[in-house]
């Protein structure tokens, strides 16, 4: 087949759903107009651990408009079967929280009842009137004081010996605060039963995960549950699991026999959905006097809940980012009386990278080496964790482009050597890496006789621009304009896709869309070359391309015809195909990762310890970039997120009762416009042909990795103070 002209892919296009979003017409989960919907408000446990001894619902039920109060006292028993699509994301090992099935309270904020009323005001007030009495026990919520699970271990070489024999040794302990996704759209679910079939409008990054979780909880056939989610107001990972409130909404709808709308309050996001767990992380590093790493020993403890063991990809960077002959890792989860964590942007890698990249900066300082030079000296020739070659790894190029564009040569290696008035100025950098994940996906493609196409997948668009970038892929593969392709997603009736997370949507779903569109285009070409009436009759199919909906000879554009003419003459209402993608099975031949080098300049008030980011630059090796405008926005957005992790975000728990004391957007600080200055992203041109048919390596995560350590390293360069805890607050610098 002749390669299709690429008109849309790689072009800086505006979002196809832009108009809907700027006019307020994009419908998020709670905004679907479902006739007769009533409102549900959850009552949260006010103890950190224990049992419910009584629930008095009389005052709530007396409120006009209140229909029902459901708790473990009157809730139907739910079968809670195993989830058919069970994996570590939607059901970590353990026993998932079963809503209203017993009197046990496992964490502060756990749902203990739900009030359903005809108006939101009545439901809210009713919820405040439910009196719950408890037999409370002291909760365990301190990571550093609780007993850890048995560790997961990794070792190559002999790290202890490597450390013993190293000319330079460092023993460093870092701690990272818990982070909450805090997407702007609160999690919300509308549930409507029709007989035994359920339709759910939900905020989710995986309609199929939500579908199977509901089916498992209620013991329903999967196909009896339909999940619809056309727009997702941010996710960052919090939508990767069907949370308890989704089951509560469906349960409330079943009990009241009314469609039910349930929107979590901002506060409830903090314990009703997951979070990036806090870590305590000790890293011992040994190197020779030239900075060549001899050994690294990682010991890390991470929060999990008492009822599920959540783990994430926190180990790979320590195994493959730098050439290190001796590595050992001990990863321990620590069960606490908290709700279960979940993946958050750059999961695991962001945490490990903060530690490793801070330590590399410390080593560079100790050896009086430039931090970039130190990293270059430890650039591996292959993935030392597997012995496989890298499919593509252009980290060196990220360093050199970044150094040049950022003006790295202006950095004074001596800390606290640049001052402007009250402000100490410093520059820092860090490397970043994220796994190029791919999973099986399918897409349905239909080309209609009017020359327009519909492409359907069950995928999501939490903001990166799936609608737009997939339309770009489809338009070029079909030889259509963007306007004539209608890309649809967010419905469990559409062909299956993996979770919209882990930067795998373009590699997985995009490859399925590409396959389906290629099939349809080939069908059309075959139809034409076999049709005596076609100007392309008898032509070699390999010599035909399609552009603007017109099939023509690649070398003679005048000879050809439009899809419409071809299909109508052949009495075909449409052509269609089911596209699919699956990563190669068996042993992989390559090691697949995306990379970056991130640079930051900060100003720190010498007296007050206030840190202000002045400018940042990220340079990315993420394979082919389908949609440059959107990719730029993703990178800049991740820098903003990284500023939050580095300087602001910190969940504070009152360990006496397990209550999160800053469960709101006024006290859990996230970056605002005034916190964000000049941010710039550069994507290296290129593609990774080994990774997937599109040549992409994923970019939503990698852009986040390295941001926090680049800022921390800049703070050190500015002040001479090494802060080994996140966030880096003014108090820590005083």
């Amino acid at each position: 087949m002749s390669p299709q002209p690429q008109a849309a892919v790689g072009a800086p296009l505006s979002r196809v759903d832009g108009r809907l979003k700027v006019t307020g017409k994009a419908k998020y989960a709670a905004e679907h107009n479902v006739d007769g919907a009533v409102h549900a408000v959850i009552v949260d446990a006010t103890i950190g651990r224990g049992r419910i001894t009584s629930i008095d619902t009389r005052a709530a039920l007396a409120q006009p408009g209140v229909l029902r109060v459901i708790s473990h006292r009157n809730a139907p028993k739910l079968p809670y079967r195993d989830n058919a699509m069970s994996n570590k994301s939607n059901n970590p090992p353990g026993r998932r929280l079963r809503v209203f099935q017993d009197d046990r309270v496992l964490f502060h904020g756990q749902p203990v009842a739900v009030v359903i009323a005809t108006t939101l005001e009545a439901a809210q007030h009713g919820a405040s009137l439910v009196k719950v009495h408890y037999d409370a026990a002291p909760p365990s919520t301190e990571l550093t004081k609780a007993k850890a699970d048995k560790p997961t271990k990794y070792a190559r070489g002999d790290a202890e010996a490597g450390l013993r024999n190293a000319a330079v040794r460092m023993d460093l302990t870092y701690s990272m605060a818990r982070n909450h996704h805090n997407a702007m759209e609160p999690h919300a679910t509308i549930a409507r039963w029709t007989g035994d079939k359920l339709t759910v409008w939900d905020k989710t990054q995986w309609v199929l995960g939500t579908q199977t979780e509901i089916a498992a909880a209620f013991g329903l056939p999967q196909d009896d549950v339909r999940v619809i989610s056309p727009f997702v107001g941010g996710g960052f990972g919090s939508g990767l699991r069907g949370w308890p409130h989704v089951i509560i909404a469906a349960l409330a709808a079943r009990v009241t026999k009314r469609p039910v709308k349930l929107v979590l309050s901002r506060k409830q996001q903090y314990f009703g959905t997951g979070f990036r767990p806090a870590y305590e992380y000790r890293l011992r590093v040994g190197s020779d006097r030239h900075g060549r790493l001899a050994a690294m020993a990682h010991e890390l403890d991470a929060e999990t809940s008492s009822y599920e063991t959540f783990t994430e990809g926190v180990l790979p960077p320590g195994q493959m980012l730098y050439s290190t002959p001796n590595v050992q890792q001990t990863y321990r989860t620590v069960p606490l009386d908290v709700n279960t964590p979940i993946w958050m942007r750059g999961p695991g890698f962001a945490t490990a990278s903060f530690v490793i990249e801070s330590a590399m900066d410390e080593l560079a300082h100790k050896l009086d080496l430039d931090p970039i030079e130190l990293r270059r000296r430890n650039e591996p020739d292959e993935d030392q964790s597997s012995g496989r070659p890298f499919s593509t790894r252009r980290l060196r190029e990220c360093y050199s482009v970044g150094a040049r564009e950022f003006g790295w040569h202006r950095r004074n290696a001596k800390p606290r050597s640049r001052r402007e008035g009250d402000w100490l100025i410093g520059m820092g950098m860090a490397a970043g890496v994220y796994d190029t994940a791919r999973m099986p996906a399918q897409a349905r493609v239909r080309l209609d006789a009017d020359g327009t196409a519909v492409v359907e997948t069950a995928s999501s668009d939490m903001g990166p621009g799936t609608y737009t970038s997939q339309t770009q892929v489809a338009a070029d593969a079909l030889g259509l304009t963007m306007r004539t392709v209608d890309f649809r997603l967010g419905d469990s009736l559409f062909p299956p896709t993996p979770p919209h997370g882990g930067s795998m949507t373009m590699a997985s779903v995009g490859s399925a869309v590409l396959d389906g569109c290629n099939q349809v285009r080939r069908q059309a070409i075959k139809l034409a070359v076999e049709d005596k009436e076609s100007p392309l009759y008898g032509v070699d199919a390999n010599d035909i391309v399609v552009r603007g909906g017109r099939l023509h000879l690649k070398n003679n554009p005048t000879r050809g015809e439009k899809y419409q003419q071809l299909l109508s003459r052949n009495n075909r209402t449409h052509l269609e195909a089911q596209g699919s993608f699956a990563p190669p099975s068996g042993t992989q031949r390559y090691s697949f990762y995306a990379y970056n080098a991130t640079f930051a300049e900060v100003a720190v008030d010498a007296t007050l310890g206030l840190v202000r980011v002045r400018r940042m630059l990220g340079v990315y090796d993420a394979g082919r970039i389908i949609s440059p405008t959107l990719a730029d926005s993703q990178a800049i957005g991740a820098m903003v997120g990284g500023i939050g992790t580095a300087l602001l975000e910190h969940t504070v728990t009152d360990h006496r009762d397990g209550r999160i004391v800053n469960a709101n957007l006024a006290d859990y600080l996230v970056p605002v416009n005034a916190d964000v200055p000049d941010l710039k992203a550069i994507y290296l041109d290129g593609e990774d042909r080994e990774a997937d048919p599109l040549g992409v390596k994923g970019l939503g995560e990698v852009v986040m990795i390295g941001v926090a350590p680049a800022i921390a390293n800049a703070v050190f360069n500015a002040t001479g103070r090494r802060i080994r805890q996140l966030p880096i607050t003014a108090e820590a610098l005083l």
Partner: protein
């Protein structure tokens, strides 16, 4: 004004008696140029009135506490957090929401600028950002990017589109 005069204590002692209906008020206000008269529960915020009663879901609920700005609308030309504004206070008020900003099919210049600058990703904070941006421009807080950043800092964008939001506001203010 809250809760129909019933406290938890009294209800507990008199379980069978239904509490009194929540007090309501009749309010006449103009929303996006259309005069509307409604009888509302006194507890109803402007945001809930728009979203739950008028089906105008363009104004978003992000925190319901005035901390995120996703619910920003114009009331008598001033940008306000509609989640903190009680409907009963709005007799005679003129409310403009994101749905009322475009002139038919013709987008407001700031809406167009948001598209051109790619000043959003998930889109959830976008209506609030745009309404706040309209207020910011009207107030004349667009003298420099720093001033725009300061004046737009009541609106959180968790996708982190701030740099581009500033450009969109600048572009629109410059055209005026």
């Amino acid at each position: 004004m809250i809760a129909g005069g019933v406290t938890a204590g009294s209800a507990l002692g008199d379980a069978q008696a239904a509490a009194e209906p929540a007090p309501t008020s009749r309010v006449a206000l103009t929303v996006n140029g259309t005069r509307r008269t409604v009888t509302v529960d006194n507890r109803t915020s402007l945001l809930d009135l728009l979203r739950e009663h008028f089906g105008l879901t363009g104004s978003k609920k992000g925190c319901n506490a005035g901390a995120c700005g996703a619910c920003t609308v114009l009331v008598d030309g001033q940008r306000v957090n509609s989640c903190l504004t009680l409907t009963v206070r709005l007799e005679g008020a003129e409310v403009t929401t994101i749905e009322g900003l475009a002139d038919g099919d013709e987008l407001h210049p700031l809406q167009q600028a948001f598209i051109e600058q790619d000043a959003f990703q998930c889109g959830y904070c976008t209506p609030g950002q745009i309404m706040s941006g309209v207020g910011c421009i009207k107030e004349g807080h667009t003298g420099s990017p720093e001033e725009i950043r300061e004046s737009m800092s009541g609106n959180i964008c968790r996708c982190g589109c701030y740099v581009k939001i500033v450009r969109a506001v600048e572009q629109t203010a410059g055209r005026k």
